[in-house]
C-alpha cells in the first residue's frame, strides 16, 4: 500500500509528465488557453491513460514475451483501437459525457504522454494495480499542469506584454517557471 501511494505521488508531482518529462507538450501549449477546456482535456487524459495502462499490462503479459520487437507497433495499434471502442461505447451509454470529452479523445490517443506512460510502466516492470495507480497519478499530474498553465494564461491576457514575446515564447517561459517550482517537490523523494 505504501508503495502504491509513492508511485502515485511520484507520478503526480515529482516526475510530472508535462513539466519534467516534457510529454504531451503539444496539447499543453495548444489547449491551455481557457481554464474549462484545459480541465476537460485533463480529465480525458486521465481516462485514456487508465485504458492505456490496462492495455499495456495485457500486451506485456501475454504478447510481448514472445515477440519483443512488436512492442511499439502493438502498443500504438492496441491503444488507439481500444480508445476508439471505448469512445463508441460512451457515445451510446452516456451522450453527456461524450459531449464533454469527445473531441479530445482522438486528439490525445497517440499523444506522447500516452505512449510514454505505456513505455515507462513497462520499463519499470509494474504489475496491474501498480500500473493503474501510475496512470492515475500521471494523468492527474498532466491535469494539474494544464490547469495551472491555463490559469496563468488567462491572467496574462489582461496584461500589457511586448509583441515579440507573445505566443509560444511566452508560454514556454511560463512553463519553465512552473517546472522550476515543481522541482521543489523532488525533496519529497529523499526517503524513497
Amino acid at each position: 500500500m505504501d508503495n502504491l501511494i509513492w508511485i502515485f505521488i511520484s507520478a503526480l508531482l515529482i516526475n510530472n509528465f508535462t513539466l519534467s518529462y516534457f510529454l504531451g507538450i503539444c496539447p499543453f501549449l495548444g489547449v491551455s488557453g481557457k481554464l474549462e477546456t484545459a480541465f476537460r482535456l485533463g480529465v480525458a487524459n486521465i481516462f485514456v491513460m487508465m485504458i492505456t495502462a490496462a492495455c499495456a499490462y495485457a500486451l506485456n503479459t501475454w504478447v510481448l514475451v514472445y515477440a519483443p520487437y512488436l512492442r511499439l507497433i502493438s502498443f500504438i495499434i492496441v491503444i488507439a483501437s481500444s480508445v476508439q471502442f471505448v469512445e463508441m461505447a460512451i457515445k451510446k451509454l452516456s451522450p453527456e459525457l461524450f459531449k464533454a470529452l469527445g473531441i479530445f479523445l482522438p486528439l490525445i490517443t497517440t499523444n506522447c504522454a500516452i505512449l510514454g506512460l505505456a513505455l515507462f510502466s513497462t520499463n519499470k516492470g509494474y504489475g496491474f494495480l501498480e500500473g493503474m495507480v501510475y496512470a492515475l497519478g500521471a494523468g492527474g499530474g498532466v491535469t494539474l499542469a494544464l490547469i495551472l498553465m491555463a490559469g496563468i494564461r488567462e491572467e496574462t491576457k489582461l496584461m500589457d506584454i511586448p509583441d515579440v514575446i507573445q505566443g509560444t515564447a511566452l508560454n514556454l517561459i511560463i512553463a519553465g517557471i512552473l517546472s522550476m517550482a515543481f522541482m521543489g517537490f523532488a525533496g519529497l523523494f529523499s526517503t524513497y
Binding site: 488507439a80 497517440t110 514556454l172 517561459i173 512553463a175
Partner: protein
C-alpha cells in the same frame, strides 16, 4: 525567390523558412527532453532524420496503393517500423547513448513532425521531391536540436561535446540541464527568432 530551382527550394525551406521547431513548433517533446547535452541532441536529430527520410521514401512510393480511409494508421505503422529499427540499431552500436535517450527514442513514433510531413508532403509528391523535403526537414530539426543543446550544455556543465571549456573555476548553471532549462532555452530562442523576423519585415517595409 521565384527564379530559384524548385528542387533546391523544397530542400532549403526546412532549414530556415519552415524550420520544424522554430517556425512550425512541431516535435517539441524530444526537442526539450533530450537536448541537455550536445551529443544527445545530435543523436536525437540524426535518429529522427533517418526515420523521417525512410518513412517519406516508403510513403511516397506506396501512396497510390494506400487506401485513403486508413492512411494515417498506415503511416504510423510505417513510422513505428523504422523507429524500431533505429531503437535496436542504437542499442547495438552505441549502448551508452541509447541508455541516455531511453524511452525518447521510442517516442520518435509520436513526433508530430514526422507524421505531419507524411500527410502534408510525401503523400502528394514524387519520391525524389519527398527525399529532398525529408532531408531538409531532418537537417532543420537537427540544427534546431543543436541550437538548444549546445547552449544548454555550455551553460549547464561548462563543456561542449564533453570537452571542458572553462576549466575548474566555472560555476555551472545546473538549472540549464534540468527540465526548466529546456523550457527557458526554447522560449528565449523563439523570442529571438520572432524578434529577428520582425526586424527583417520592418526593414523590407521601409525599403
Amino acid at each position: 525567390m521565384e527564379n530559384q530551382n524548385p528542387n533546391a527550394e523544397e530542400f532549403l525551406k526546412g532549414l530556415w523558412k519552415e524550420n520544424p521547431v522554430f517556425v512550425a513548433v512541431l516535435g517539441m517533446c524530444p526537442a526539450l527532453a533530450v537536448s541537455n547535452t550536445a551529443i544527445n541532441s545530435l543523436a536525437m536529430g540524426l535518429a529522427t532524420s533517418f526515420v523521417l527520410l525512410c518513412s517519406s521514401i516508403l510513403v511516397a512510393s506506396l501512396k497510390s496503393i494506400i487506401p485513403k480511409q486508413v492512411r494515417i494508421t498506415t503511416y504510423i505503422i510505417i513510422i513505428a517500423t523504422f523507429v524500431t529499427v533505429v531503437d535496436f540499431a542504437l542499442a547495438a552500436f552505441s549502448p551508452a547513448i541509447h541508455k541516455e535517450l531511453g524511452a525518447f527514442i521510442a517516442l520518435i513514433v509520436v513526433n508530430c513532425l514526422i507524421l505531419g510531413r507524411q500527410e502534408a508532403f510525401a503523400s502528394k509528391h514524387s519520391v525524389g521531391l519527398s527525399i529532398l523535403d525529408a532531408l531538409g526537414m531532418g537537417i532543420g530539426f537537427t540544427f534546431a536540436m543543436l541550437c538548444i543543446g549546445i547552449p544548454r550544455e555550455i551553460l549547464g556543465s561548462g563543456s561542449i561535446f564533453n570537452i571542458s571549456l572553462f576549466g575548474s573555476n566555472f560555476e555551472p548553471w545546473v538549472v540549464m540541464i534540468l527540465p526548466p532549462g529546456g523550457f527557458f532555452m526554447l522560449g528565449f530562442l523563439l523570442l529571438g527568432f520572432n524578434w529577428f523576423t520582425k526586424k527583417k519585415k520592418a526593414r523590407i517595409n521601409y525599403g
